[in-house]
Amino acid sequence: MKENFFPLSLVPPGKEVIVVAIHGGRGLKARLSDMGLKEGIKLKVLTSYSSGPCIILVGETRLVLGYGMAQKIFVKEE
């Protein structure tokens, strides 16, 4: 069901989704995973500015994702 994947930037605040893929180099993926954000994990969007940066809740961690980052993270609905 590939068509159900969409970038995190399209997720409205308050919604919970599951990370399917992270588009980025080895370094970026490792950094995100160190901070608790990795494929298969559930996250909730807390705040987002249109097409720009957003704040997400992963586990107990609140992360700021800068402009462009949210487009690199693909998610699906629960």
């Binding site: 993926k29 995100l32 995973s33 705040t47 940066p53 107990e60």
Partner: protein
Amino acid sequence: MPKKLTVALAGNPNSGKTTLFNVLTGMHQHVGNYPGVTVEKKEGELKYKDYDITVVDLPGIYSLTAHSIDEIVARNFVIEEKPDIVIDIIDSSNLERNLYLATQFMELGVPLVLAFNMYDLASKQGLEIDKVKLSELLGAPIVFTVATKKNGINELLDEVINLAEKKTTIRKITPGYGKEAEGEIKKIEALLLKDKDLIQKYPSRWLTVKLLEGDSEVIKKIKESEYSNQILKQVEKSTAHLINILGDTPEAIIADGRYGFISGACSEAVKRNYEERHTISDRIDKVLINRILGLPIFLVVMWLLFKFTFAASAPLCDWLDKGMGWLGDKIGGLLPGGSAIQSLVVDGIIGGVGSVLSFVPIIFLLFLAMAFLEDSGYMARAAFIMDKLMHKIGLNGRSFIPMLLGFGCNLPAIMATRTIEDRKDRLVTILVNPFMSCGARLPVYTLFIGAFFSEKIAGNVLFSLYFLGIVVAIIMAKIFRKFLLKGPAAPFVMELPPYRVPTIKGLLIHMWERGVLYLKKAGTIIFVGCTLVWFLSNFPWNPQYSKDYDALIEQAKDNKEMVTQLENEKAAEKLEKSYAGKLGKAIAPVFKPLGFDDWKISVGLVGGFVAKEIVVGTLGTLHSIGKADEKSESLRQALQNQTRPDGNKMFNPLVAYALLVFVLLYIPCVATIAVIKRETNSWRWPIFAAFYTTLVAWLMAFIVYQGGRLLGLG
């Protein structure tokens, strides 16, 4: 004889590590740098029982990979300096993520104590931890602490000493990575064990795991081994095998293994009596980073920050100024009047120290205000709010605050770039920062705008200069991003800390650290720069004067006005004939295409290298007005009436504006240069900054002047 112990503090950013460090060591701290990098190294001392304990505060990190300089520094310290104990500070309300770092210390095999910090908050929110069981499962002693309330500190130190004295009996554990991966780890480890030297220094399992993670630093180390070929081939084979069998990269398998190990331990020993937390922070954020209100609130906060800094520092600066003047008079009185030695002490040394000190109130107060924003958690929100805008010029949200601080003073602004992780982002932010028009340039603007523009448009002219600085900064940032410091904008990810009430002690310590750093490093260079300019503008000490001033003054001694007039003329001629005067005359032709090829202005611009406001004072001396400030009407008149050799007026509004554009953009003051040197750890960038800004200034002034003439404005 007290026993010695070295303890390293490690932990995620926002785990309360700095607070714990402050509680442990109080004011007994010193800040340095790790060799070769600009990462701060904080150390402190304390006495506990019969131990002298040295505490090293490692940088805040999430992991021990080679992806960031902070992580490399932290892990090299632990591996090479071998601290007796590592305390890993864990945010109790965010256990899983914080324990991730702890698992890597376990793999490194270091003696580890876990401080479960902010335990009060976590337990209030419904967290129950079975300490004994969890510490058995994790293989490390656990202590509950609340650093802000100084709870659990003695227990923590007791555990440290018990572990150091090997009184603690605990089975060391490392996470497992599943049958497939473990099989491959064994194969690689077997090869590593052949290299006895290597194994002496690093635990073999840790090396193996790092190799599978593709750690660039460890691979570099292995390449020095005589078995490197065999080892790296096996790593490649194992990596391919794991991807083939498990369909996942080794890094992902290892990360999963660690998180699995942690959640396994937590599911047995931790109970959570809540579903999801709606914290106070989330509620505050609903307002403060609101889509509509966020930006206006941020701007008000920044306005308050400047208001506070300048309002509070103005009287302090005044006192300092008066104090230095008094000191100069007192000491000057003890030395022979009119001698070179008197001038050296009063104008050179005391004046030089004075210019270092004159920055102190502003710098310290600005750092205090910044520490408040940082410690309260608002700074991270500000970065979020400004991210989109900054992204457009190839930077990210973290670059905004330093840019804004530049309007006050470029020194603290450049020092504030330390919060920017990415090296290129940081360099670009540093390099364009001097274009933010600092407070010292205002007097020059005031003088010339007052002389050549009507009161009605004065405000607009002033605003246009500030605005031009911003535009030039944006253009240069884009150019640097495109050509000099190429590459896509670094992905910006940052943890959002909860709001906290800052402690007074924490604020003062942060302010003190940064302020002292400025005094120590930049102070020396500023002092040398000031003394140099003093020398240039005072020597040769006794030039050939065109008139015998001393005799004339003696003659006119009853006519006070006449005496002042003559003294001012003498000072003007002395400066004209000094090295600075000669330098000014030599470089004046460079400004011909810009309209202000006047040697007096050139001398002023040379002096402006010490501090931009000096331009005003130098012009005062050269126009025989004595001590003039930016509101001096006589200096304004002198400038208005100044003529060229051909009888035409030297200045008109267009020339004056071109000059102000040049003053806005040209070489940063010596203090800024000193700070760039300090913050980039090399002379390359400050020298580059000095040259390119001056080039940009020349070009912009050229465009303004020649463009203006084409439009018939001149």
